[in-house]
């Protein structure tokens, strides 16, 4: 029997499925205009595109923080009000500004916030939080107040906050903002070691090249192209030095 060879990418489980997603802000801006997107197990997809092209608006739909027209399914669950607790446990979102994410009085309480909201007993939530802090190399800061940490440390703690929820997917919005090169290198190493599928919203091309397995390009609320990062940089003339 002759069958066509199975494409390994297609054989992997689809974690996120988005079809025809549209979203208009209250001021009339059409932020998303019919986006189709898939994310499969162990993939890392970079979302590229100019400022205001709809990347962040798009990822906010994945865990129901925004709700537009279209179809969004996460780990087999349609994004709807009744599925939000389950979906938010599956998608760990690390926001661009860590200060927005760290709102509890101590690092430990902040990292344990997610697991505690998932209904874990206080000792289990604490143990999960300590484990996640250890994973990102921040266990030493568990008793500290988040506002006493450096930008890189805050980023790690924010990441620990979502890892403690044991998500299947990580969404990272501009993860290298405010990080110095050694901080970016440490973060890259850390993210490479994490088994979760990832969506990376970024303008940091070298970081995306080092981490992402493929990329999609947003333009005026539409998914304009998909491919390798190098292909997209060439296609949309995003290279820093076009002669190179």
């Amino acid at each position: 029997m002759s069958g066509s060879p199975i494409n390994p990418a297609r054989a992997r489980k689809t974690l996120i499925e988005v079809r025809g997603l549209k979203y208009r802000y209250d001021d009339g801006t059409q932020a998303l205009d019919g986006v189709d997107f898939d994310l499969r197990e162990s993939e890392c997809v970079a979302l590229l595109g100019a400022n205001g092209s709809g990347k962040t608006t798009f990822v906010l739909h994945l865990n129901g923080l925004l709700s537009g027209d279209g179809f969004v399914k996460v780990c087999g669950l349609p994004v709807s009000k009744e599925n939000l607790p389950a979906i938010r446990a599956k998608i760990g979102m690390v926001f661009q500004d860590s200060d927005e994410q760290l709102f509890m009085p101590s690092v430990l309480e902040d990292v344990a916030f997610g697991p505690a909201n998932q209904g874990l007993a206080p000792d289990q939530a604490t143990s999960r939080a300590l484990q996640a802090l250890d994973q990102v190399g921040m266990a030493w800061a568990s008793a500290k107040a988040p506002y006493h940490l450096s930008a890189g440390e805050k980023r790690r703690v924010a990441l620990a906050g979502v890892l403690a929820m044991d998500p299947e997917i990580l969404v990272l919005d501009e993860p290298t903002t405010y990080l110095d090169p050694p901080g970016q290198r440490d973060l890259l190493r850390l993210l490479k070691d994490l088994p979760q599928a990832k969506i990376l919203v970024t303008h940091d091309i070298p970081f995306a090249q080092a981490l992402a397995t493929r990329a999609v390009f947003f333009e005026k609320g539409k998914l304009a192209a998909e491919g390798s990062i190098d292909e997209l940089l060439y296609e949309f003339d995003w290279r820093l030095d076009p002669r190179a």
């Binding site: 923080l65 938010r88 926001f95 009085p105 309480e109």
Partner: protein, 240 residues
């Protein structure tokens, strides 16, 4: 910032810090009622309350001078009413207003300086404060950080671009003009920032309740503490 410092103090490990928030809240209520209802001119009794609160501050290993000074932030408000009372011919009432408001503020400050906020709010909720009000107060407190941080950034940006320079009068005029415009921007930015914080909370499963890592349990020591506070407050109120 005041609230940051108070939050640091609340993480101490003294005997008073370890008491259950409910026992401390009930004790505070007793002390406030006792101070509020004491007759005008009972200076000795009020001095005794001051001594008790001072002893609590020392026992909690809080910085005494800072606590005493910070409790004075209530004085501009109560002082206004005290001046009105004084001018209307009732100096005893004016003095009592200042004394009582200062002591009440000191007692409340000791409570929040020895009780981490999540425990304080959980204590309030278990004592029957409606959850909605509790939640509103918690958000208000959390967004104070957001607003003060935004205000600091804007002040810095204004100074970097020459805001506040020139002669005293010109500088003040510029400063007020800039401040008036900045207020609107501050509101819009703080709103955006607060929305971001709320989004981050929702993304981690927030469902209207701040979870506690160490659930509160009333112990014999907590009961003993409340009874001691009650006895001291009543004794001073009715004996001195």
């Amino acid at each position: 910032m005041h609230h940051v410092l108070v939050e640091q103090w609340s993480r101490g490990r003294s005997w008073l810090h370890r008491r259950d928030a409910r026992a401390k809240l009930a004790s505070l209520a007793v002390v406030l009622i006792a101070i509020g209802t004491i007759r005008i001119g009972a200076h000795v009794a009020l001095a005794a309350y001051f001594a008790l609160l001072l002893a609590a501050t020392v026992a909690a290993r809080l910085p005494v001078t800072s606590i005493l000074l910070r409790a004075g932030t209530v004085l501009p408000f109560s002082g206004t009413f005290a001046v009105v009372s004084w001018l209307s011919g009732d100096p005893q009432r004016a003095i009592a207003l200042v004394e009582k408001s200062y002591l009440s503020a000191l007692a409340a400050l000791i409570l929040i300086s020895t009780t981490p906020l999540p425990k304080l709010f959980a204590g309030l909720e278990s004592l029957g404060v409606p959850r909605l009000i509790n939640l509103v107060v918690q958000f208000l407190y959390r967004y104070l950080f957001v607003i003060s941080e935004q205000a600091q950034h804007m002040r810095l940006a204004s100074r970097c671009r020459g805001g506040g320079h020139g002669g005293f009068r010109a500088a003040n005029q510029n400063r007020f003009q800039a401040a008036a415009g900045a207020l609107a921007v501050l509101f819009a930015r703080s709103y955006g920032r607060a929305e971001g914080v709320h989004r981050a909370m929702l993304a981690r499963g927030f469902a209207g309740h701040f979870p506690l890592l160490a659930p509160a349990r009333l112990s014999l020591a907590d009961g003993g503490f409340f009874l001691s506070a009650l006895a001291a407050a009543v004794l001073v109120r009715f004996v001195l």
